[in-house]
Symmetry: C2
Subunit: 672 residues, 2 copies
């Protein structure tokens, strides 16, 4: 055990590495690190199970700094406990290409579990991690063999708790009785506009009790023994997630800034840094000083971690012997590999299908065909499973009395759903998917963005993808959501034209390991395209492909996605009857298409053919890229309307006749 | 007073008008109307202060059906109490062009206060309405003259309470002690995926008590006397908003569907409708039957409303005599008119300014210049006022002890902020604005969409609008948010290039009365464009304009928005020195530009000039529209990075030199 004096030395070392990094960058947030270093130190020194020499050890505890603006604190901890992060890296805080960006970025440095900064996200990510832990434990642990058994910790701030996403996630965590989720709340009473009580006077303890959490405190966040006791108490309650309310002072130790908003988002200033060091009894005026005793003590984390992981490896060995099949499966899942034969028979799923099928229904069938083989496929919907067709028939429900279920019930909580899925993907061992209506993508944009930024394998199922929704009207009809998805870097969006393209879309999504995929699906039934007379659906893998053409040298190209492809095809046939040769291009994924070699893209959309029409039941924004200066976009540059879907399609001109008429105009050169 | 038998008759009339409308449309939600008709009837019959003959009477109570899927209930109430909505309109439920769309749509029918459907939004809109009421009362009422004094009521559902936005809004309402906000919670225990307890087991009463609400119940939602007593109790507490928990049964009365999820989102079916009618003692098998006694009783709302409004008008008359200046102002504000001389002197604000100014700072100066004249301009930020520059220096704070303040403190609650602003605009009498970083637009997309759909005058201030944010890194750097704003129908987005364009942007936003406007502003300082040598900033009003050109017949057009316009201008000068004639186009608002006559657009971007370059520090998606097949887009098709802003601009090629080099290539024809 460490002496009190040593504790304080270590805490100050953490504090001033953070403060010096901010000062060196002349940019950043010194207030939070000064306030929460004690809590963080106690957690990392006395509790956190991790191995700096193997940051990806699957059974490590997870730590989330939900208040990501305190990043410098995390970098200090990672450096001091022996992760691959040097003092020089800390000196490069917030500089181009450094391992120490302004907010924690997943992938930049080992040991950093999740990108945080946008408030509330980390809070909800942690719930996903804790859910993943319980799921793996329920599915893989065996009597006497605890292979998966760890905690998820986070430090969360006022801002995290004010955001609605944390309310959603906390309610879900309470419902699921995630007893191994332990959050330390940095209750410092200060926000950017001043004292939090100008707007945040709710009784946080009572609120979390209402969610079904154990609430501990308020305690003094600077009292290391108190924090230690609180965490022990949190660990002891295996039935409820715990919130430890830690009273702290933002900018603690700064004579002129402590306890004020000005300590939050700007460097203290060289002089104030010196004054703060003096006030906290830190004798080293030289920036980035690490006293050897502090380093030695904090680096004990390495030995401790090696030992803990060594014991775990022994347990894993015994497990392998007792349950070789399970062990193989677990290791495969933890690697994220798809099992051999995972997609056997998929291609036959809709062969010869002559009845129309909604792509949401096709997706449900694919999912249920895949589920028995891909055990790690786990997901659910924001209270729309019957509509989004996201339920796994034999999957069981993931509920507090049985964590082995594969059907997650997120409730009407899209925002938390997105972040929980990210947390699961970050944890590893399972492939999460979510489900809601496309229009409600708007409720979960922040976690989708972060998943794309982190490069996580998450699959988003968005059904009811257009005015084809019909009578529910404009509030439920997406218009701008498709272009929204396409605008997110590193997100692949696929809007399949029919059941056969839906099969390909799912295969593509599952094989994508470096980022999320959105599947955009119809509510309404769509004809299953007859692949005997049309190109194979495997063209989906290339993002876009020639589906059909009347003759080898077409005069006009009609392109579309999803539920409008069969309309385009009908238009092509109409034109053929009128002696006009059209090519129909199905373009389900812009991102995949743009990743193709230029020659392939030129083959599909040859520069020489200027007469081009796009049709898509959404905002036409962006289609100019493909139709070009001489082309025509047919889309919906307005909100939708409440009426039967077919009526809306007719009223808004999303018909084969309209497409054909525009094509004829283009061919006559009547339109520029 | 009505007899109990009459009450039940009226309630059943409401129920079956709704159920018959759903059945006639063969689409819709019968379950909620059956469950909540009693609560709604008691509220409308005994409490709601409204005048069906003057639906816009400013001091009416506001009623929100937050569970908008129960729309048929609202239409039944509007018809029965005498609004301009016929029985034939009800028969057109969910049909193209009808006054009775699937979810309530603001503007389709008098008396309908707000578009609802996306869950949680109505809950938060109501908070905005109640805040507006208190603000107007604080600013205009005088001793003995209560001109503004009404309640805001809503019926809210499980789904509303599960959404994070309601947590944000409820916490805010509790903090602000909005005692005249009264919500009836339809606690029916059923959600689409089944019983709510699969995911929603929180103690709602305790949670709302934690927010500072008065919680009443649970009571029996079918007990009219109980509901009446609860609403009286809610009204009696002037210090706390009230949540009345009403236990109900979804699909009440349906022998085979009551209390199940299957009653929620599909018609009961002809037979089940008959069975339900029988079970509830409704003798009329003919659909859309309105018994004369029920109609007569419910139509008493007209006389009652006329009388109430008559009394109010007497009070207004007395107020006019006692406070003529205030009365004139109030009436002007309620009409939404800007006062005479509202923009006097604005154009001089930055005349001759030679120091660079961030457009967020320019916006703050404009706002503070306008504020003394436009009294109704009220707004704030999601805990970022010092950064977004949205504070009104002499505006005072809107807090529970003083509702006259003009600075709103939303807390870290962007989602509620958006919906609260909509509620204020819907209430009328003030012009709301909000503030946050552009990247956090993602947290508030749903209310922005709905404000655009409703055509509300709300002004969104989005600062920190690009990688120019710098060190905070990709989590805080918008990329896809600009194209996101542009994709929303009926939203006008303006990204001014400098302080002088910011003035024009604000003027445009304030003069727009049929929809919201987003102002997209830089964190970093930008040179104030020298209007002595450049075209006047008034070009902003047309969305795009020729800022400068080297000569009358330019060879290349360089266009950009916001912080990239001065880079484009520098590139133009570089090219001039190299003997290449460039035109620089500032294109701050695509929507305004596209609303211009074709001749104007052709003048700015003549078809003959094919060498075109766009530069914007965001996703290039959509710029193809303006640069055309031969053009080049310079943008950021990736996430940003943590580094000083200038470094990022250089690394990502957002420099005058890069633009000039691309222009030279284009001119040499080296690029297609």
């Amino acid at each position: 055990m460490s002496k009190p004096g040593l504790d304080e030395l270590c805490i100050n070392t953490i504090r001033f590495l953070a403060v010096d990094a901010v000062q060196q960058a002349n940019s950043g947030h010194p207030g939070a690190p000064l306030g929460i270093a004690s809590m963080a130190y106690v957690l990392w020194d006395r509790f956190l199970k991790h191995n700096p020499k193997d940051p990806k050890w699957p059974d490590r505890d997870r730590f989330i700094l939900s208040c990501g603006h305190a990043s410098a604190l995390l970098y200090a901890l990672l450096h001091l406990t022996g992760y691959d992060l040097s003092l020089d890296d800390l000196k490069q805080f917030r500089q181009w290409g450094s391992k120490t960006p302004g907010h924690p970025e997943y992938g930049t440095v080992p040991g950093l579990e999740v990108t945080t900064g946008p408030l509330g996200q980390g809070f909800a990510n942690g719930v996903g991690m804790a859910m993943a832990e319980r799921w793996l434990a329920a599915n893989y642990n065996r009597p006497g063999h605890e292979i998966i058994n760890h905690h998820t910790y986070a430090i969360v701030s006022d801002g995290d708790l004010e955001e609605g996403i944390s309310a959603e996630a906390a309610s879900l965590a309470g419902n699921l009785r995630l007893g191994k989720l332990i959050y330390l709340y940095d209750d410092n009473g200060i926000s950017i506009e001043g004292r939090t009580d100008i707007t945040f006077t709710e009784d946080v303890a009572q609120r979390f009790q209402a969610y079904g959490w154990q609430v501990i405190g308020p305690i003094d966040g600077f009292d290391t023994a108190g924090v230690e006791g609180a965490i022990r108490k949190a660990q002891a309650d295996r039935e409820r997630p715990s919130l430890i309310i830690c009273r702290t002072i933002i900018g603690y130790g700064s004579p002129n800034k402590a306890g004020t908003a000005s300590a939050h988002g700007e460097p203290l200033g060289v002089e104030e840094v010196l004054l703060t060091k003096k006030q906290l009894g830190w004798d080293y005026t030289e920036p980035f000083t690490v006293p050897p005793e502090a380093l030695q003590h904090l680096r004990e984390a390495q030995e401790r971690g090696q030992k803990q992981q060594g014991e775990w490896q022994k347990r894993l060995k015994a497990y392998r012997q007792a349950y070789p099949a399970e062990a193989l499966r677990l290791e495969e899942d933890l690697r994220g590999d798809l099992p051999a034969g995972w997609d056997t028979g998929l291609d036959d799923l809709f062969r010869g299908e002559t009845k129309p099928v909604a792509t949401r229904s096709a997706s449900g069938l694919v999912l249920n065909s895949l589920a028995p083989r891909i055990r790690s496929l786990v997901g659910g919907s924001a209270d729309l499973a019957p509509s989004t067709k996201t339920g796994l028939k034999d999957g069981g429900d993931y509920i507090s009395s049985d964590y082995s279920g594969r059907n997650l019930h997120f409730g009407v909580r899209e925002h938390a759903m997105g972040a929980v899925a990210s947390g699961m993907a970050l944890h590893g061992g399972l492939i999460p998917y979510t489900g809601t209506f496309l229009v409600f993508y708007d409720y979960m944009r922040p976690p989708v963005r972060l998943a794309a930024m982190m490069g996580l394998r998450v699959i988003y199922i968005f059904s009811h993808d257009s005015v084809g929704v019909g009578e529910d009207g404009p509030t439920h009809q997406p218009i701008e959501q498709l272009v929204g998805l396409r605008s997110v870097p590193n997100l692949v969006t696929i809007r399949p034209a029919d059941a056969t393209e839906t099969v390909e879309a799912w295969q593509t999504a599952l094989q994508r390991r470096d980022g999320p995929t959105a599947l955009v699906l119809s509510r309404q039934n769509l004809p299953v395209l007859d692949r005997k007379t049309l190109s194979p659906a495997s063209g989906v893998r290339r993002g876009g492909y020639i589906l059909w053409e009347a003759a080898a040298n077409p005069e006009v190209i009609i392109m579309g996605t999803g539920s409008e492809v069969h309309i385009a095809l009908d238009a092509g046939k109409l034109l053929q009857a009128r002696g006009i040769k059209a090519r129909i291009v199905s373009l389900p994924s812009w991102e995949l298409f743009e990743a193709q070699p230029a020659e392939y893209r030129e083959k599909v959309l040859p520069e020489g053919i200027k007469a081009r029409i796009s049709i898509e039941a959404g905002s036409p924004l962006g289609w100019e890229r493909y139709v070009g200066d001489s082309g025509v976009t047919i889309g919906i540059p307005r909100f939708g309307a409440s009426a039967p879907g077919k009526v809306i399609y007719e009223k808004l001109g999303l018909t084969a006749e309209h497409v054909a008429a525009e094509a004829e105009k283009l061919r006559r050169g009547g339109r520029k």
